[in-house]
Structure formats: C-alpha cells, structure tokens
C-alpha cells in the first residue's frame, strides 16, 4: 500500500516533466528528453550564480579555519530557496490535493496519507535546495582538504537539510491552512507578500557582494554570533569538516523537529483537509443594486477578473506598481541621477536624453501585458458573452480599456518625474507624453491582437493562459524588442536625423500602427471572438 502511495506521489511530483499541462497528454520520449535538458540548462544557469558565491566564500573561510561558516551560509541560502520554492505549493498539495477525499475514503491510515504528501513537498524542496547545494559541494571538494568521513557527511547533508526545509514549509503551509478563508482580500494579500518577497530578493541580491565582503572582514566576530543563532547549521558545518559527532547531533535535531511537526500535523490533518474548501460564507444584504451601462458592466467585469487573480496581477500588471515606484525613485535620487547625466562621459548622449527617457518609460510600461491573456482567460465561460446580447466589439473594447486605464494612470507620475528631472524644451515636453501614450495604446492593442490570433480556452488552471502562453511571451518580449529596435535605428540614423524629428517620426509610426491594430480588432478580431 505504502509503495503504491509513494509511486502515485512521485508521478504527481514529476508530472511537469512527462505531462503537457496545456493538453493533459503524456509527452513523447523525445519531448521528455528535451524538456529535461531545458530544465537542466535552467538548473545549471541558476547553479552557476551560487557557484560564484561559493567560490567567493569557500577559500577565505577555509584559510580562516572557519569552514563551517561556509556551510552555514550556503545552507541558509539553500534553505531559503527551498522554502521559497516549496512553500507556495505546500498548502495546496497537503490540504487541497484533489485526491484527498479519494484517499481518505480508502482503508489508509491518515498519518500515512500525510507522510506521502510530505514526501511530495520534500521532493520539491530538495529540487530547489540542490540548485545551491550541488555548487556548494563541488566548490568544497575543490578547495577543502579531503577526509572520508567529511565526504560521506557532505553527501548526506543535502538530503538531511531538505528535511529541515520540509519542516519549515509544512509549518508555514499549516499557518496558511489555518488562516485561509479568513482573509478578506486574499488576492491582494498574496500580491503584496509576493512583491515584498521580490523586493527583498532584489535588495539582498544588490547588497550580496558588500555583505560577503563585510563578512569576510569580520569573520570571527560573525562566526561567534551565528554559532548559537544557527546551531543546527553550525553542527552541519562541523559535520562537513569531518566531525561525525556533529553529524549525529545535526541529524538528531532534524529528526526531532520532523517528528514534532509530523506528530502535530497528523493530529490536525484530517480536520484541515476536510474543512469546507470554499471561502467563508458571506452574508448578502438585500440592498438596492447599482445599474450600469453595458460598457460599464463589461469594464467592471474585466476589473473584477484582474483583481480576482493574484497570478494575473503579478504576471501581467507589474508595471502598475513599478511606474509609481520609479517616479518616487526619480524624485528621491534626482541629485545622483543629474550628477550622472551631467558627467562629461555622458556628453555624447546629451542631446538624445529625451529619447532615452521615452524608451525607459515605455520599457517599464511594457511590464503591463494585461490584454495578452485576456481572451484566453474567458475560458469555458466564453458562452456567457457569446449568448448575451452584447456586440463582440464592446467586449474587446472593455479589455482594451482595462489595460489602458491600469497603464496610463500609473504612467502619469513617471512622465511628470522624468520631465521634471531632464527638463526638456517645450517641443520634447509635449512629445514625450504623446509618444508614451501611443506606445501604451499600441501595446494594449497588440496584446489583444496576438491573443485573438492565439487563443487558448481549454485550460484547467489560469496560470496556463497567464504564464505559459505564447501570446503573453510575444507581447512582453515583443514590446522590449520593439523599443530596442527603435533605439538601434536611431543610433544608425543619428547623424542624419535630429532627436526631435526622429521622435516625431516614431509618434507617427506608433499612431499608424495603433489605428491598424485597433481597426483589425474591431472588425476581424470581433468576428474571430464571436466564433471562438
């Protein structure tokens, strides 16, 4: 029985490799190989980043006779990455698994179902953790003196450490399970937490080099402090250096932690897994309903879809947050930026700074690709707009309006900040917002155009049209490539065209493209939509 359960769990964990998420079909052997190679390349690319970090840390710490700190730090990074990678799926895979009801109806002890589920979380955490631990081990073997006991311990450590990752993920997943359904604005909270994570990641990434330098300069003082704060990792570090007793202490700590968490979870698992999956019942008060026009109702529907999905907001609406942040950053760091811009080294680009400013604003605004999955997101509910007395043109117009509103409004402070910073002459001051506006309209209409050309209504998880669709990829990268192409063309023509004339030409081209795309959307596109 246990073997069958583990086999099922392994199949579930590795479904991403052998199963096409879009069609649900099993991939061919060649397809699996190609997919595996692709993942290995991504794995190697990410691993190379941590390989560099390991290279920076290992030798100086070994020279300072503090090799265990190397393991502490790399272990900490791998635990962070492992938890980051598995925590989001822990709640759903432990408590919301689709086969929970099926397994609970079978003669299987609840504790064993939990054990199998935890194994799934362990495997995901291990995959993430190995991205850090494989380069860590490689660098260690290259730099540290060899000891047989140490080598054996080093090979066991990633698998033990992954249990620690599992413990943390399971505890966080349990907390999520407890508060799930009680949160009022779950999607907004998810977006906020994700943005904090992203901001934290980039902050640490930006400071990593100086932090490492600081650590290496004060290695002994830091070592004394973290020895007790990260005691299990301290023991892990000593084990890697060949201390068998430390290996036993480290394993015992992990074992006790796991046993405690497993015991606690097995007591609450049944209650949480069988709790009402739906959100808490919200009362409805019999009040007067606000009447809206057809276009108002359609726009509100699009807004609700956007705000109702953390995935949609995070993947297709990052520009909404980034543009005001960029505006604030410009006001905040204006002195530094102006210093850089007035540096003699920047002299050759002085006269086309307004063009660069337009390119930069457009680049940030193109982080919004709200229209590009919007047709696909209708999914199986498309029958509604098709059977209601609505002209398809109006449905598509609502999708365009949502993109425009959510991009133009946050772009305004950025344009103001940029113009305040570079203080362009009147002609540029007028043309910059026009160019940005036309670019935003073009991106909105292009996104809708490409999704009408490549719709996918047969999805079971909204992440497929949002994250894994060709139309989103083309719209996102297409926008960046388009901006870079325009910049490249100007570089080639800079001796024959003034920046102002070039910007005028670009605006004319953008306007013409907008007219062409919008015309297509409201004629051919509307026909395609009504026949989907």
């Amino acid at each position: 029985m246990t073997k069958a359960l583990f086999k099922k769990q392994i199949m579930e964990v590795f479904a991403w490799l052998y199963k096409d998420r879009k069609t649900g079909k099993i991939r061919s052997a060649k397809g699996i190989m190609m997919y595996a190679v692709l993942y290995l390349i991504v794995f190697a690319f990410l691993g190379s980043v941590f390989y560099t970090v390991a290279q920076m840390l290992c030798k100086p710490l070994l020279d300072a006779q503090m090799g265990w700190i190397y393991w502490c730090l790399m272990g900490l990074i791998s635990v962070f990455l492992g938890v980051f990678g598995s925590v989001f799926s822990t709640y759903s895979s432990l408590y919301q698994a689709k086969d929970n009801d099926l397994l609970l109806s079978m003669p299987i002890p609840v504790a064993r179902i939990l054990l199998v589920r935890l194994f799934g979380v362990y495997a995901i955490g291990l995959m993430y953790e190995l991205i850090v631990m494989i380069p860590t081990i490689l660098v260690w073997f290259m730099k540290a003196p060899f000891s047989l006991v140490g080598a054996v311990c080093v090979m066991i450590i990633p698998f033990m450490l992954s249990i620690f990752v599992l413990v943390l993920s399971a505890v966080l997943g349990w907390v999520v399970a407890l508060i799930a359904g009680k949160l009022k604005h779950k999607n907004i909270v998810t977006v906020f937490i994700s943005l904090v994570f992203i901001a934290g990641y980039y902050y640490i990434y930006g400071k990593a080099y100086s932090l490492i330098q600081l650590l290496l300069q004060n290695v002994e003082a830091v070592g004394e402090k973290i020895k007790y704060a990260l005691y299990p990792l301290y023991q892990m570090g000593l084990a890697a250096e060949g201390n068998l007793l430390s290996m036993l202490v480290f394993s015992a700590i992990i074992g006790v932690l796991f046993a405690a968490v497993y015991f606690a979870l097995s007591r609450s698992f049944l209650g949480l897994a069988t709790a009402n999956k739906g959100a808490a019942k919200k009362g409805y008060k019999n009040k007067d309903q606000r009447v809206k026009s057809v276009s108002g109702a359609l726009l509100q529907k699009e807004f609700r879809r956007f705000l109702g999905s953390a995935n949609y907001m995070l993947n297709c609406g990052l520009g909404i947050i980034l543009m005001p942040i960029a505006a604030v950053a410009i006001f905040w760091k204006a002195g530094t930026i102006q210093e850089i811009l007035s540096d003699p080294i920047m002299q050759p680009i002085q006269n086309f700074i307004p063009l660069l400013a337009v390119a930069a604003i457009c680049m940030v605004s193109s982080m919004n690709d709200i229209t590009s999955p919007s047709v696909s997101l209708e999914g199986k509910s498309i029958w509604l707009v098709q059977s209601l007395p609505i002209i398809s043109r109006h449905v598509l117009a609502a999708k365009l309006k949502l993109h425009l509103l959510l991009t133009i409004v946050p772009a305004i402070p950025l344009v103001i900040a940029v113009e305040w910073l570079i203080k362009p002459d009147l002609s540029f001051a007028l043309l910059i917002p026009v160019a940005v506006l036309l670019f935003i309209v073009l991106m909105a209409s292009f996104g809708l155009f490409i999704n009408l050309k490549m719709p996918n209504l047969n999805w079971t998880n909204e992440i497929i049209p949002i994250k894994q669709s060709m139309s989103v990829m083309i719209a996102l990268f297409g926008g960046w490539i388009f901006i870079m192409a325009l910049a490249g063309i100007y570089y080639l023509l800079r001796s024959v065209l003034s920046p102002l004339i070039y910007l005028l030409i670009v605006c004319t081209l953008l306007l013409a493209s907008c007219v062409i795309f919008i015309r297509w959307i409201f004629t051919t596109g509307a026909k395609i939509f009504s026949e989907l």
């Binding site: 999956k277 739906g278 959100a279 019942k281 919200k282 009362g283 409805y284 008060k285 019999n286 007067d288 309903q289 606000r290 009447v291 809206k292 026009s293 057809v294 108002g296 109702a297 509100q300 529907k301 609700r304 879809r305 705000l307 109702g308 999905s309 999914g379 199986k380 509910s381 029958w383 509604l384 098709q386 059977s387 209601l388 007395p389 609505i390 002209i391 026949e531």
Partner: protein
Amino acid sequence: MLKIEHLTKNYGDKKAVDDLSLHIKPGEIYGFIGHNGAGKTTTIKACCGILQYDSGEITIDGVSMKQDPITCKSKIAYIPDNPDLYEFMTGIQFLNFVADIFGVTAEKRKERINKYADAFEITGDLGSPISAYSHGMKQKLAIISALLHEPKLIIMDEPFVGLDPKATHLLKGIMKDMCSEGSAIFFSTHVLEVAEKLCDKVAIIKGGKLMRSGTMEEVKGDTSLENVFLDLEEEK
C-alpha cells in the same frame, strides 16, 4: 417564437446537424431528445447565437439570428448543461452583471433577484464567490440570471442535471408559469419521464437528423416516449 429551418452544421466532414427544421410557438414547452452526440447541443448553441451554422435559418420572434443576433439574444435566455460562470464574481455581482447587460431597472432586478433567490434558497449565498458554489448552486444561479429580463424564449440544455428534487420541482413550475404567460421554452433532456409529463411538443433527433416531432400524443401514440425513443434508436 423560434423557427429553425433547414439547419445544417458540419464539423469537418461530419454532419452534426442535417437539414433540421422545427417551429416552437409562444406558450409551448418543447422537449428535444436524442442520444449523446445526436446534435442537440449543436442545435441549441446555434439557436443562441453561440455557434455559426453552415446553412439554413434560425429566427427568434421573426428576427434572423444571422442578420440581427443582438436583437435575437435580447429576447432569449440560455442555460447550458454545465454552467461555467464567472468564478471571480460573487453570486450577486454576476446577477447584476447580467441585469446590466439586459438593461433591467434597479427596482425590477431587486424584485426578481429576491423572488427567485428566495425560491431557490440561495439568497444567503449570493454574497459568496461563485468559485465556492456547488454544481447545483451554479445551476440555480444560471437559472435566476436567465429569468431576470423575463425572456420570451428560454433555451436550456439539460436543465435538471445537478438540481435537487425541490429545485427541479420549482423549475418545472416556473417553466409552466412562463409558458402560460406567453413565453416559449425549448430544452433538451435525457430524462424521458420529465419530457413526457412536462412537454407540449417533442422532437427526437438522431445522427443530426430529425426523426420525429409533434405534439406528445402524435409522437408517442399509445406507447411511452421511452419505447418510441428506443425503437428509433434501434432503426438503422
């Protein structure tokens, strides 16, 4: 009310509906039966303007679905067999959305939402997101949304699937009431007993072709609808 004339719809080489003609008059409850894949849903979707057809004509209250789909759709309501509604909305948000599209006034929508939500016993759930609804609750919500604008014609695909006995009974009553007020109902079902008891007229479709149609008495004669259906199924 609904006139289907020589309707033909092909999927590649396969004829899903082949030269089908039906006429549903005001006040009639018209049942549409056939085995799985017979062409019922294709016909229904074509009548609602969801599916384009290759030839023939569909008119609603004298207006061509091909020529003026918006006018046609404003007179009808459609309830699919599997109501995939907007899961990102709450029940009341969805009802308001549909009411906005049909231009139902604030007073009328309030009155009708209260009336039908109370009758189907989902008033307390209208504030919850549709994603938390069961299949039956979604079906009830789809039915309420279809009744908000008092359509002249309701087209339903397997409307009783997923409904509890009380809701089924209620829906049958609503169907009868609407027809007595001059509306028409065209619905598909596999439950032959329901069709036999509820329908004024019935049509049996097989392989996209109309096998038999007419009043219930004309179609079944002295035997049961089930026997007629099974006999037709055995015919090659």
